[in-house]
Protein backbone atom coordinates (compact mmCIF):
# COMPACT_ATOMS: atom_id res chain seq x y z
CA UNK A 1 0.00 0.00 0.00
CA UNK A 2 2.80 2.37 0.96
CA UNK A 3 4.70 1.47 -2.22
CA UNK A 4 1.70 2.21 -4.38
CA UNK A 5 1.30 5.59 -2.63
CA UNK A 6 4.99 6.34 -3.01
CA UNK A 7 4.91 5.42 -6.69
CA UNK A 8 1.88 7.66 -7.16
CA UNK A 9 3.61 10.57 -5.46
CA UNK A 10 6.80 10.11 -7.53
CA UNK A 11 4.71 9.90 -10.70
CA UNK A 12 3.01 13.13 -9.77
CA UNK A 13 6.35 14.81 -9.08
CA UNK A 14 7.77 13.44 -12.34
CA UNK A 15 4.81 14.67 -14.38
CA UNK A 16 4.94 18.07 -12.75
CA UNK A 17 8.68 18.30 -13.37
CA UNK A 18 8.15 17.27 -17.00
CA UNK A 19 5.56 19.96 -17.59
CA UNK A 20 7.78 22.42 -15.73
CA UNK A 21 10.72 21.58 -17.94
CA UNK A 22 8.67 21.83 -21.11
CA UNK A 23 7.34 25.25 -20.23
CA UNK A 24 10.77 26.45 -19.12
CA UNK A 25 12.16 25.42 -22.50
CA UNK A 26 9.30 27.09 -24.34
CA UNK A 27 9.84 30.23 -22.28
CA UNK A 28 13.53 30.29 -23.11
CA UNK A 29 12.72 29.87 -26.80
CA UNK A 30 10.30 32.78 -26.64
CA UNK A 31 12.91 34.91 -24.94
CA UNK A 32 15.53 34.01 -27.53
CA UNK A 33 13.23 35.44 -30.21
CA UNK A 34 13.00 38.83 -28.55
CA UNK A 35 16.57 40.21 -28.70
CA UNK A 36 17.77 41.85 -31.87
CA UNK A 37 17.36 45.45 -33.01
CA UNK A 38 14.65 44.75 -35.52
CA UNK A 39 12.36 43.06 -33.04
CA UNK A 40 13.16 45.66 -30.36
CA UNK A 41 12.23 48.42 -32.81
CA UNK A 42 9.03 46.62 -33.76
CA UNK A 43 8.17 46.25 -30.08
CA UNK A 44 8.73 49.97 -29.51
CA UNK A 45 6.39 50.71 -32.43
CA UNK A 46 3.79 48.28 -31.04
CA UNK A 47 3.97 50.05 -27.67
CA UNK A 48 3.43 53.42 -29.41
CA UNK A 49 0.40 52.00 -31.23
CA UNK A 50 -0.95 50.65 -27.95
CA UNK A 51 -0.46 54.02 -26.20
CA UNK A 52 -2.18 55.85 -29.04
CA UNK A 53 -5.02 53.30 -29.00
CA UNK A 54 -5.48 53.93 -25.31
CA UNK A 55 -5.56 57.71 -25.86
CA UNK A 56 -8.04 57.18 -28.71
CA UNK A 57 -10.41 55.19 -26.46
CA UNK A 58 -10.02 57.88 -23.78
CA UNK A 59 -11.01 60.68 -26.18
CA UNK A 60 -14.00 58.74 -27.44
CA UNK A 61 -15.24 58.05 -23.95
CA UNK A 62 -14.71 61.74 -23.05
CA UNK A 63 -16.74 62.71 -26.15
CA UNK A 64 -19.54 60.30 -25.18
CA UNK A 65 -19.70 61.81 -21.68
CA UNK A 66 -19.74 65.38 -23.03
CA UNK A 67 -22.47 64.50 -25.53
CA UNK A 68 -24.61 62.95 -22.79
CA UNK A 69 -24.17 66.07 -20.63
CA UNK A 70 -25.08 68.37 -23.55
CA UNK A 71 -28.10 66.20 -24.30
CA UNK A 72 -29.25 66.45 -20.67
CA UNK A 73 -28.86 70.26 -20.68
CA UNK A 74 -30.81 70.51 -23.96
CA UNK A 75 -33.50 68.20 -22.54
CA UNK A 76 -33.91 70.57 -19.58
CA UNK A 77 -34.32 73.49 -22.00
CA UNK A 78 -36.84 71.38 -23.95
CA UNK A 79 -38.93 70.88 -20.82
CA UNK A 80 -39.24 74.64 -20.44
CA UNK A 81 -40.25 75.37 -24.05
CA UNK A 82 -42.40 73.50 -26.58
CA UNK A 83 -40.53 75.13 -29.50
CA UNK A 84 -37.17 73.96 -28.13
CA UNK A 85 -38.55 70.44 -27.64
CA UNK A 86 -39.80 70.39 -31.24
CA UNK A 87 -36.30 71.42 -32.36
CA UNK A 88 -34.84 68.60 -30.23
CA UNK A 89 -37.18 66.11 -31.92
CA UNK A 90 -36.01 67.23 -35.37
CA UNK A 91 -32.37 66.89 -34.29
CA UNK A 92 -33.10 63.45 -32.80
CA UNK A 93 -34.48 62.20 -36.13
CA UNK A 94 -31.42 63.44 -38.03
CA UNK A 95 -29.10 61.99 -35.39
CA UNK A 96 -30.82 58.61 -35.76
CA UNK A 97 -30.28 58.65 -39.53
CA UNK A 98 -26.66 59.71 -39.05
CA UNK A 99 -26.08 56.74 -36.73
CA UNK A 100 -25.55 59.04 -33.75
CA UNK A 101 -28.07 57.10 -31.62
CA UNK A 102 -28.41 53.38 -31.00
CA UNK A 103 -30.70 51.38 -33.29
CA UNK A 104 -32.62 48.23 -32.45
CA UNK A 105 -34.44 45.78 -34.70
CA UNK A 106 -34.19 42.60 -36.75
CA UNK A 107 -31.08 42.02 -38.80
CA UNK A 108 -28.03 39.94 -39.55
CA UNK A 109 -24.50 39.50 -38.25
CA UNK A 110 -21.77 38.65 -40.75
CA UNK A 111 -18.65 37.00 -39.32
CA UNK A 112 -15.31 37.29 -41.14
CA UNK A 113 -11.98 35.78 -40.11
CA UNK A 114 -8.49 35.42 -41.51
CA UNK A 115 -7.52 32.26 -43.37
CA UNK A 116 -4.21 30.41 -43.63
CA UNK A 117 -1.17 31.96 -45.39
CA UNK A 118 -0.68 30.69 -48.93
CA UNK A 119 0.76 31.77 -52.27
CA UNK A 120 -0.94 35.19 -52.35
CA UNK A 121 1.03 37.51 -50.05
CA UNK A 122 -1.75 38.92 -47.87
CA UNK A 123 -4.82 37.43 -49.55
CA UNK A 124 -5.51 35.26 -46.51
CA UNK A 125 -6.10 38.36 -44.36
CA UNK A 126 -9.41 40.18 -44.15
CA UNK A 127 -8.78 43.73 -45.38
CA UNK A 128 -10.71 46.99 -45.26
CA UNK A 129 -12.09 46.54 -48.78
CA UNK A 130 -13.68 43.23 -47.70
CA UNK A 131 -15.43 45.00 -44.83
CA UNK A 132 -16.42 47.86 -47.14
CA UNK A 133 -17.90 45.35 -49.65
CA UNK A 134 -19.93 43.62 -46.93
CA UNK A 135 -21.18 46.97 -45.56
CA UNK A 136 -22.14 48.16 -49.08
CA UNK A 137 -23.97 44.89 -49.78
CA UNK A 138 -25.90 45.19 -46.52
CA UNK A 139 -26.97 48.77 -47.33
CA UNK A 140 -27.96 47.59 -50.82
CA UNK A 141 -30.06 44.86 -49.19
CA UNK A 142 -31.97 47.32 -47.02
CA UNK A 143 -29.84 47.85 -43.91
CA UNK A 144 -31.00 50.87 -41.91
CA UNK A 145 -27.87 50.89 -39.77
CA UNK A 146 -24.57 48.97 -39.74
CA UNK A 147 -21.79 48.51 -37.16
CA UNK A 148 -18.38 46.84 -37.55
CA UNK A 149 -16.96 45.30 -34.36
CA UNK A 150 -19.19 47.67 -32.38
CA UNK A 151 -18.21 50.75 -34.40
CA UNK A 152 -21.29 52.35 -35.95
CA UNK A 153 -21.10 53.44 -39.59
CA UNK A 154 -22.07 57.09 -40.24
CA UNK A 155 -22.94 58.81 -43.55
CA UNK A 156 -19.33 60.09 -43.67
CA UNK A 157 -17.62 56.83 -42.64
CA UNK A 158 -14.47 55.78 -44.42
CA UNK A 159 -12.55 52.50 -44.49
CA UNK A 160 -8.79 52.20 -44.68
CA UNK A 161 -5.83 50.34 -43.17
CA UNK A 162 -2.95 48.08 -44.15
CA UNK A 163 -3.63 44.37 -44.83
CA UNK A 164 -5.10 42.62 -41.81
CA UNK A 165 -6.20 45.85 -40.11
CA UNK A 166 -9.32 47.89 -40.66
CA UNK A 167 -9.49 51.55 -39.65
CA UNK A 168 -12.93 53.13 -39.67
CA UNK A 169 -13.07 56.91 -39.32
CA UNK A 170 -11.06 58.14 -36.31
CA UNK A 171 -11.30 54.81 -34.52
CA UNK A 172 -8.67 52.39 -33.31
CA UNK A 173 -7.43 49.82 -35.81
CA UNK A 174 -9.69 46.75 -35.80
CA UNK A 175 -8.32 43.22 -36.24
CA UNK A 176 -9.91 39.89 -37.19
CA UNK A 177 -12.26 38.31 -36.30
CA UNK A 178 -14.75 40.87 -37.61
CA UNK A 179 -18.45 41.09 -36.97
CA UNK A 180 -20.52 43.26 -39.28
CA UNK A 181 -23.96 43.75 -37.75
CA UNK A 182 -26.87 45.30 -39.60
CA UNK A 183 -30.42 46.20 -38.57
CA UNK A 184 -33.00 46.36 -41.34
CA UNK A 185 -34.77 44.08 -43.80
CA UNK A 186 -33.52 40.76 -42.43
CA UNK A 187 -34.95 38.53 -45.19
CA UNK A 188 -33.53 40.63 -47.98
CA UNK A 189 -30.12 40.85 -46.28
CA UNK A 190 -30.03 37.06 -45.73
CA UNK A 191 -30.99 36.52 -49.35
CA UNK A 192 -28.26 38.83 -50.68
CA UNK A 193 -25.62 37.30 -48.39
CA UNK A 194 -26.67 33.78 -49.44
CA UNK A 195 -26.48 34.65 -53.15
CA UNK A 196 -23.19 33.17 -54.44
CA UNK A 197 -22.93 35.90 -57.10
CA UNK A 198 -22.30 38.50 -54.39
CA UNK A 199 -18.97 39.03 -52.56
CA UNK A 200 -17.15 37.05 -55.27
CA UNK A 201 -13.65 38.09 -54.20
CA UNK A 202 -14.25 37.05 -50.60
CA UNK A 203 -15.78 33.73 -51.62
CA UNK A 204 -12.80 32.93 -53.87
CA UNK A 205 -10.40 33.60 -51.00
CA UNK A 206 -12.61 31.58 -48.68
CA UNK A 207 -12.02 28.59 -51.00
CA UNK A 208 -8.31 29.30 -51.55
CA UNK A 209 -7.18 30.25 -48.03
CA UNK A 210 -9.93 29.13 -45.72
CA UNK A 211 -10.98 32.71 -44.95
CA UNK A 212 -14.02 32.58 -42.65
CA UNK A 213 -17.27 34.05 -43.97
CA UNK A 214 -20.65 33.25 -42.46
CA UNK A 215 -23.83 35.05 -41.44
CA UNK A 216 -26.63 34.64 -38.95
CA UNK A 217 -30.04 36.32 -38.93
CA UNK A 218 -31.60 37.53 -35.72
CA UNK A 219 -35.03 38.95 -34.76
CA UNK A 220 -33.54 41.45 -32.33
CA UNK A 221 -30.18 43.21 -32.60
CA UNK A 222 -28.93 46.48 -31.15
CA UNK A 223 -26.38 48.70 -32.84
CA UNK A 224 -24.44 51.17 -30.69
CA UNK A 225 -24.41 54.90 -31.45
CA UNK A 226 -21.53 56.41 -33.44
CA UNK A 227 -18.85 57.08 -30.83
CA UNK A 228 -17.36 60.31 -32.13
CA UNK A 229 -18.73 63.64 -33.35
CA UNK A 230 -20.03 64.36 -36.82
CA UNK A 231 -18.49 67.81 -37.11
CA UNK A 232 -18.34 69.29 -40.61
CA UNK A 233 -15.45 71.75 -40.83
CA UNK A 234 -15.28 72.87 -44.46
CA UNK A 235 -18.76 72.42 -45.97
CA UNK A 236 -21.37 75.15 -45.48
CA UNK A 237 -25.06 75.10 -46.39
CA UNK A 238 -25.41 76.53 -49.92
Amino acid sequence: MINVRKAGAYLLVALTALAFGYLLAAQLRTQLLVPGNRVARTEALVRTVQDLEQANSGYRSQIATLQAQIDALEAQAGQRSGATQSLRDQVALLRAHAGATSLRGPGVTVALGNGQPGAGATDYLVNFQDIQDVVNLLFEAGAEGVAVNGHRISPLSSFSGPAGTVVIDQGNPLYAPFQVTAVGNRNQMEQKLGDASNLGGLRNRQRAYGLALSFQGSPDLTLPAYDSTLEVRYAQPA
Partner: protein, 220 residues
Protein backbone atom coordinates in the same frame (compact mmCIF):
# COMPACT_ATOMS: atom_id res chain seq x y z
CA UNK B 1 6.59 8.45 7.44
CA UNK B 2 4.33 11.40 8.12
CA UNK B 3 7.28 13.85 7.64
CA UNK B 4 8.37 12.17 4.36
CA UNK B 5 4.82 12.40 3.00
CA UNK B 6 4.58 16.07 3.90
CA UNK B 7 7.97 16.85 2.33
CA UNK B 8 6.83 15.16 -0.92
CA UNK B 9 3.66 17.18 -0.77
CA UNK B 10 5.76 20.31 -0.26
CA UNK B 11 7.92 19.53 -3.30
CA UNK B 12 4.84 18.85 -5.40
CA UNK B 13 3.24 22.02 -4.12
CA UNK B 14 6.27 24.20 -4.88
CA UNK B 15 6.66 22.65 -8.31
CA UNK B 16 2.96 23.16 -9.07
CA UNK B 17 3.26 26.78 -8.01
CA UNK B 18 6.28 27.30 -10.23
CA UNK B 19 4.46 25.54 -13.06
CA UNK B 20 1.52 27.88 -12.74
CA UNK B 21 3.85 30.89 -12.62
CA UNK B 22 5.77 29.83 -15.70
CA UNK B 23 2.56 28.95 -17.53
CA UNK B 24 1.31 32.50 -16.95
CA UNK B 25 4.62 34.06 -18.01
CA UNK B 26 4.73 31.80 -21.04
CA UNK B 27 1.21 32.64 -22.19
CA UNK B 28 1.89 36.36 -21.69
CA UNK B 29 5.20 36.21 -23.55
CA UNK B 30 3.66 34.32 -26.41
CA UNK B 31 0.82 36.82 -26.60
CA UNK B 32 3.31 39.69 -26.73
CA UNK B 33 5.47 37.99 -29.34
CA UNK B 34 2.45 37.16 -31.46
CA UNK B 35 1.17 40.73 -31.18
CA UNK B 36 4.61 41.92 -32.26
CA UNK B 37 5.47 39.47 -34.98
CA UNK B 38 2.33 38.07 -36.51
CA UNK B 39 2.20 39.92 -39.80
CA UNK B 40 2.48 43.43 -38.37
CA UNK B 41 5.66 44.76 -39.98
CA UNK B 42 7.29 48.09 -39.01
CA UNK B 43 5.95 49.87 -42.12
CA UNK B 44 2.40 48.84 -41.27
CA UNK B 45 2.92 49.97 -37.68
CA UNK B 46 4.25 53.33 -38.89
CA UNK B 47 1.10 53.79 -41.01
CA UNK B 48 -1.07 52.93 -38.02
CA UNK B 49 0.82 55.43 -35.86
CA UNK B 50 0.29 58.18 -38.46
CA UNK B 51 -3.41 57.38 -38.71
CA UNK B 52 -3.82 57.29 -34.94
CA UNK B 53 -2.02 60.61 -34.46
CA UNK B 54 -4.32 62.25 -36.99
CA UNK B 55 -7.41 60.57 -35.52
CA UNK B 56 -6.48 61.56 -31.97
CA UNK B 57 -5.85 65.17 -33.02
CA UNK B 58 -9.30 65.29 -34.63
CA UNK B 59 -10.89 63.71 -31.54
CA UNK B 60 -9.11 66.20 -29.24
CA UNK B 61 -10.48 69.08 -31.35
CA UNK B 62 -13.98 67.56 -31.21
CA UNK B 63 -13.75 67.12 -27.44
CA UNK B 64 -12.68 70.79 -27.12
CA UNK B 65 -15.63 71.93 -29.24
CA UNK B 66 -18.04 69.87 -27.13
CA UNK B 67 -16.55 71.23 -23.88
CA UNK B 68 -17.13 74.77 -25.15
CA UNK B 69 -20.71 73.86 -26.12
CA UNK B 70 -21.38 72.42 -22.68
CA UNK B 71 -19.94 75.52 -20.97
CA UNK B 72 -22.06 77.79 -23.19
CA UNK B 73 -25.20 75.76 -22.36
CA UNK B 74 -24.44 75.90 -18.64
CA UNK B 75 -24.09 79.67 -18.67
CA UNK B 76 -26.17 80.77 -21.66
CA UNK B 77 -29.63 79.51 -20.75
CA UNK B 78 -32.47 78.52 -23.07
CA UNK B 79 -31.53 80.77 -26.00
CA UNK B 80 -28.10 79.09 -26.09
CA UNK B 81 -29.83 75.69 -26.31
CA UNK B 82 -31.97 76.90 -29.24
CA UNK B 83 -28.89 78.28 -31.04
CA UNK B 84 -26.93 75.08 -30.52
CA UNK B 85 -29.80 72.85 -31.63
CA UNK B 86 -30.21 74.96 -34.79
CA UNK B 87 -26.47 74.69 -35.48
CA UNK B 88 -26.57 70.92 -34.98
CA UNK B 89 -29.63 70.65 -37.21
CA UNK B 90 -27.74 72.45 -40.00
CA UNK B 91 -24.65 70.21 -39.47
CA UNK B 92 -26.66 66.99 -39.49
CA UNK B 93 -28.59 68.00 -42.61
CA UNK B 94 -25.21 68.35 -44.36
CA UNK B 95 -23.88 65.07 -42.91
CA UNK B 96 -27.03 63.19 -43.92
CA UNK B 97 -26.79 64.72 -47.43
CA UNK B 98 -30.18 66.45 -47.16
CA UNK B 99 -29.09 69.94 -48.11
CA UNK B 100 -27.01 71.63 -50.83
CA UNK B 101 -23.51 72.57 -49.67
CA UNK B 102 -20.54 74.61 -50.78
CA UNK B 103 -16.91 74.87 -49.75
CA UNK B 104 -13.34 74.14 -50.89
CA UNK B 105 -12.74 70.86 -52.67
CA UNK B 106 -11.80 68.97 -55.81
CA UNK B 107 -13.52 67.89 -59.01
CA UNK B 108 -12.21 64.70 -60.60
CA UNK B 109 -13.10 63.86 -64.19
CA UNK B 110 -12.57 60.38 -65.60
CA UNK B 111 -13.44 58.90 -68.97
CA UNK B 112 -13.07 55.15 -68.53
CA UNK B 113 -15.20 52.02 -68.24
CA UNK B 114 -15.38 52.05 -64.42
CA UNK B 115 -17.26 49.42 -62.45
CA UNK B 116 -19.40 49.91 -59.34
CA UNK B 117 -16.48 48.62 -57.24
CA UNK B 118 -14.06 51.13 -58.88
CA UNK B 119 -16.44 53.95 -58.01
CA UNK B 120 -17.00 52.70 -54.45
CA UNK B 121 -13.21 52.59 -53.95
CA UNK B 122 -12.76 56.09 -55.40
CA UNK B 123 -15.48 57.47 -53.13
CA UNK B 124 -13.93 55.75 -50.09
CA UNK B 125 -10.47 57.17 -50.91
CA UNK B 126 -11.96 60.67 -50.93
CA UNK B 127 -13.73 60.02 -47.61
CA UNK B 128 -10.45 58.80 -46.08
CA UNK B 129 -8.97 62.13 -47.29
CA UNK B 130 -11.65 64.00 -45.34
CA UNK B 131 -14.48 64.52 -47.86
CA UNK B 132 -17.49 65.99 -46.05
CA UNK B 133 -19.82 66.03 -49.07
CA UNK B 134 -19.59 64.00 -52.28
CA UNK B 135 -21.40 63.76 -55.58
CA UNK B 136 -20.99 61.45 -58.55
CA UNK B 137 -22.34 62.94 -61.80
CA UNK B 138 -24.76 65.10 -59.79
CA UNK B 139 -25.90 62.24 -57.55
CA UNK B 140 -25.20 63.01 -53.89
CA UNK B 141 -23.43 60.21 -52.03
CA UNK B 142 -23.39 59.23 -48.38
CA UNK B 143 -21.81 56.04 -47.00
CA UNK B 144 -25.12 54.15 -47.24
CA UNK B 145 -25.63 55.16 -50.90
CA UNK B 146 -25.90 52.18 -53.19
CA UNK B 147 -23.69 52.16 -56.30
CA UNK B 148 -24.42 49.04 -58.33
CA UNK B 149 -24.66 47.51 -61.79
CA UNK B 150 -22.35 47.05 -64.77
CA UNK B 151 -20.62 49.66 -66.93
CA UNK B 152 -23.57 50.10 -69.28
CA UNK B 153 -26.19 50.38 -66.55
CA UNK B 154 -24.74 51.75 -63.32
CA UNK B 155 -27.10 53.12 -60.70
CA UNK B 156 -26.68 55.36 -57.68
CA UNK B 157 -29.56 54.87 -55.25
CA UNK B 158 -31.70 53.60 -58.13
CA UNK B 159 -30.94 56.52 -60.51
CA UNK B 160 -29.03 55.60 -63.69
CA UNK B 161 -25.55 57.11 -64.09
CA UNK B 162 -23.00 56.69 -66.88
CA UNK B 163 -19.53 57.87 -67.82
CA UNK B 164 -17.65 60.10 -68.35
CA UNK B 165 -17.48 60.42 -64.59
CA UNK B 166 -17.34 63.56 -62.49
CA UNK B 167 -16.63 63.15 -58.79
CA UNK B 168 -17.01 66.29 -56.68
CA UNK B 169 -15.78 66.38 -53.09
CA UNK B 170 -15.89 69.17 -50.49
CA UNK B 171 -13.53 69.04 -47.51
CA UNK B 172 -9.91 69.62 -46.49
CA UNK B 173 -8.52 70.98 -49.81
CA UNK B 174 -4.92 69.83 -49.24
CA UNK B 175 -5.75 66.25 -48.32
CA UNK B 176 -8.42 65.97 -51.03
CA UNK B 177 -5.99 67.28 -53.68
CA UNK B 178 -3.41 64.71 -52.53
CA UNK B 179 -5.91 61.86 -52.86
CA UNK B 180 -7.19 63.14 -56.22
CA UNK B 181 -3.64 63.42 -57.55
CA UNK B 182 -2.77 59.87 -56.49
CA UNK B 183 -6.05 58.49 -57.85
CA UNK B 184 -5.83 60.16 -61.27
CA UNK B 185 -2.14 59.24 -61.68
CA UNK B 186 -2.99 55.58 -61.02
CA UNK B 187 -5.91 55.76 -63.47
CA UNK B 188 -3.77 57.29 -66.22
CA UNK B 189 -1.47 54.23 -66.04
CA UNK B 190 -4.43 52.05 -67.04
CA UNK B 191 -4.69 51.68 -70.86
CA UNK B 192 -8.50 51.53 -70.69
CA UNK B 193 -8.60 55.06 -69.28
CA UNK B 194 -9.09 57.75 -71.94
CA UNK B 195 -8.88 60.68 -69.55
CA UNK B 196 -8.33 61.19 -65.80
CA UNK B 197 -7.68 64.56 -64.22
CA UNK B 198 -8.72 66.79 -61.35
CA UNK B 199 -8.93 70.44 -60.43
CA UNK B 200 -8.95 72.09 -57.04
CA UNK B 201 -11.77 74.58 -56.41
CA UNK B 202 -11.84 77.29 -53.75
CA UNK B 203 -15.61 77.26 -53.55
CA UNK B 204 -17.32 74.23 -55.01
CA UNK B 205 -21.11 73.81 -54.88
CA UNK B 206 -22.87 70.44 -54.57
CA UNK B 207 -26.57 70.94 -55.12
CA UNK B 208 -27.83 67.37 -55.26
CA UNK B 209 -29.29 65.83 -52.12
CA UNK B 210 -30.13 62.39 -50.76
CA UNK B 211 -33.75 61.31 -50.26
CA UNK B 212 -33.93 60.03 -46.70
CA UNK B 213 -35.66 56.68 -46.27
CA UNK B 214 -37.74 56.40 -43.09
CA UNK B 215 -36.87 53.55 -40.70
CA UNK B 216 -39.18 50.58 -41.26
CA UNK B 217 -37.42 47.90 -39.20
CA UNK B 218 -35.19 49.74 -36.73
CA UNK B 219 -36.18 51.87 -33.76
CA UNK B 220 -34.12 54.03 -31.45
Amino acid sequence: MRSRRSSTALVVGVLTGLLAFIAVVQVRSQFEVERTLSGVDPTTLAFLIDDLHRANDALATDAGTLSARRAALQSGGDQQAVDQLNAELAQLRMVDGLTAVHGPGVVITVDAPLTALDLQDAVDSLRVAGAEALALNDQRLVTGSVIKGGNQSLEVDGAPVRGPWTLSAIGDPTRLAGAADQMTKALRDDPRVLHADYRAEGDLVIRSTVVQRPFVYGSA
